[in-house]
């Protein structure tokens, strides 16, 4: 199954009831999958909106009504959605936003890139807020994390971003869906559905009292602390004895894994650390790794964005190198292997046989 279709199917199985999209490459197969498979389902709705701005605001509306809802786009479209994401975060409304990202800045290119790391992990829109950011690196994981995204969004009442890229979205792999579609679609108890048999409800953030807004921000940040504690996830690969640890996420981690396998075959002690949640970022685990490994190589398909988080985690205890290809160029495993090998010898990491 295509990565984009896998997200769509997983969303339906997670009980997604409303999808709002707008065409943009390389995520169109997801919108088309929802048009084919969600739009005629009982109680469900699909709208091809007039813009990404409208699509995210439709998500906001559907979330108000208490249903599971999703939109998807690619980098330039995600920029347009930031206004709505800020409102979702402010009003504590769950939603899932998929970014099958592409090369930027500007219109950029349609090929895979990871240059939206900052935008995804730093909030992206205006105001003091966070979104959970999940970074899958296979088609199976696209499906699994889509399901998890809906659960997290509901549990913490927060917008969740799935940050994939054109490579993952367009890739075809076998996968297994671990859930069937629910027979009854979930509705949140705090939904806005008319004040029948209860006092009327208001969902808003605007206030003329700064202290009220301060309290909202405090309450959001208390929840963010909880998410950091409970939901930080990552994958480690051959790090136990590694002299060099490659830190990479998403598609880059796949490429890195191939390179590391070959490096190991050549006798180099190299491992990989892959954050699965980009926010919350696994600072603690990376900090722990500084005790066992000598050197970090951050590998990204951008000019160096996640490296800032790795630096925060390493706190200067170990040296960090960077290798990146921006603008939608996808590096090959052999290219990364060359970088690893050169670095390994340059830094004197070669272990005596």
């Amino acid at each position: 199954m295509y990565g984009n279709a896998a997200i769509g199917e997983a969303a339906i199985r997670a009980g997604c009831q409303c999808y709002f999209g707008y065409p943009i490459t390389p995520q169109n197969e997801l919108t088309e999958y929802m048009a084919t498979n969600l739009s005629r389902r009982k109680g469900c709705s699909f709208v091809q909106a007039e813009s990404e701005v409208s699509a995210i605001n439709m998500v906001y509306g559907a979330s108000l009504a208490g249903v599971r809802t999703m939109t998807s786009s690619s980098s330039p479209g995600i920029s347009l959605k930031q206004e709505g994401i800020s409102y979702l975060a402010a009003c504590e409304l769950p939603a899932v936003i998929v970014n099958i990202s592409r090369g930027g800045p500007g219109l950029g290119s349609i090929s895979a890139a990871q240059s939206d790391y900052f935008q995804s992990t730093r909030g992206g829109g205006h105001g003091d807020y966070r979104t959970i950011v999940l970074a899958p690196s296979s088609v199976q994981e696209l499906a699994d994390l889509t399901h998890r995204a809906f659960d997290l969004a509901d549990r913490y009442r927060i917008p969740v971003i799935i940050l994939g890229d054109g490579m993952l979205g367009q890739m075809m792999e076998p996968l297994e869906f671990k859930y069937d579609a629910p027979s009854e679609l979930p509705v949140r108890s705090d939904a806005l559905r008319g004040a029948k048999g209860r006092p009327s409800r208001i969902v808003k953030t605007f206030t003329s009292r700064p202290t009220e807004l301060e309290e909202l921000n405090w309450s959001l940040f208390r929840r963010y602390r909880l998410i950091e504690k409970e939901e930080t996830t990552y994958e480690i690969y051959l790090v136990e004895d590694a002299e060099l640890v490659v830190v990479a996420f998403g598609a880059a981690a796949r490429i890195a894994k191939g390179a590391i396998r070959n490096a190991r075959a050549n006798g180099l002690k190299v491992g990989m650390f892959r954050p699965i949640t980009l926010w919350p970022f696994p600072y603690e685990k990376i900090s722990e790794l500084t005790q066992t490994t000598k050197h970090f190589l951050v590998f990204e398909m951008n000019m160096g964005q996640m490296i800032e988080d790795v630096k925060l985690a390493v706190e200067g205890k170990r040296e960090i190198s960077f290798y990146g290809r921006p603008g939608g160029v996808i590096p090959t495993p052999s290219e990364v292997l060359r970088v690893i090998t050169r670095l390994y010898y340059q830094k004197g990491l070669k272990t005596e046989k």
């Binding site: 009831q17 409303c18 709002f20 709705s45 709208v47 909106a49 007039e50 813009s51 701005v53 409208s54 699509a55 605001n57 439709m58 998500v59 906001y60 509306g61 559907a62 979330s63 108000l64 009504a65 208490g66 249903v67 809802t69 206004e83 709505g84 409102y87 009003c91 939904a191 806005l192 559905r193 008319g194 004040a195 029948k196 048999g197 009327s200 409800r201 208001i202 969902v203 808003k204 953030t205 605007f206």
Partner: protein, 257 residues
């Protein structure tokens, strides 16, 4: 003794913050009277705009949720699609609906979303202090057209209702005013019809209400009522603009034009 006038059930017991002579409080009152009379208070959900009436939720005793500037029709679309049993309306000013929200409005109308827009046209951006709106009249002075709106540079007043009427999904559009008892009565009737079109599952409905803004127009309330009558209605003629509620049916077999 017979009670002939009372606070509508759907109107909260709160003092309006609006300026003396402002049309918002009249429209709020009319809305809540309609909710009571149609017995839909527990079904309606309102989307108030950023603007003077962002605080509408302090007065209307119904479910409400704020929206970003201009996005009301998109938010209402999402809500209605997710929960079709609700009666969803947006309450939007002229800057909101006719400038930043033009795309959202036209396309929601074109899809025939079963929502209602209450469109307050007072020819200025009110809350931000009286800047030019798309509906500002030619030669009218505002804080951003201090020499008067020069149509060569700033364009012409936008007749949004007429534009929206062109799309097939819009089934009922009327322009009214709240500057006289007679017009206020007509406005109430129009609001009622707009909600009825939604209840009947026919399509998009919109009521444009010419509404005085004495503060930003720098007039007293009486002068502002007269200005609506003598100046605004020349550019924005009152009356029914489109009514396809009789010819259209909810199955979509017959179109709205």
């Amino acid at each position: 003794m017979k009670k002939v006038y009372r606070r509508p059930k759907s109107l909260k017991r709160a003092a309006f913050h609006y300026c003396p002579g402002c049309g918002h409080s009249i429209v709020h009152r009319l809305l809540t009277e309609v909710f009571d009379e149609m017995n839909i208070q527990d079904k309606v959900i309102g989307i108030p705009p950023p603007g003077c009436s962002v605080f509408a939720y302090h007065y209307l005793d119904i479910d409400m949720a704020e929206s970003a500037h201009g996005r009301g029709a998109a938010v209402a679309t999402g809500l209605k699609r997710a929960y079709p049993d609700a009666l969803v309306f947006t309450y939007q000013g002229d800057g909101d609906l006719a400038a930043i929200g033009t795309a959202e409005t036209i396309h929601a109308a074109n899809r025939g979303e079963r929502i209602t827009s209450i469109f307050i046209n007072n020819a200025v951006y009110g809350m931000t202090g009286g800047q030019m709106a798309p509906t500002t009249l030619s030669n009218m002075k505002t804080t951003t057209t201090p020499y008067g709106r020069d149509t060569r540079l700033e364009g012409y007043p936008v007749r949004m209702s007429e534009m929206v009427a062109l799309v097939k999904g819009a089934v009922y559009i009327e322009r009214t005013a709240v500057n006289s008892p007679a017009n206020i009565k007509k406005t109430k009737k129009a609001i009622r019809k707009a909600f009825q079109a939604q209840i009947d599952d026919l399509g998009y409905s919109l009521v444009e209400i010419l509404s005085p803004c004495p503060t930003n127009w720098k007039m007293n309330p009486l002068e502002s009522w007269q200005w609506v009558e003598n100046e605004m209605t020349k550019e924005f003629p009152l009356g029914l603009i489109k009514d396809a509620t009789r010819t259209k049916d909810s199955t979509g077999k017959r179109d709205a034009d």
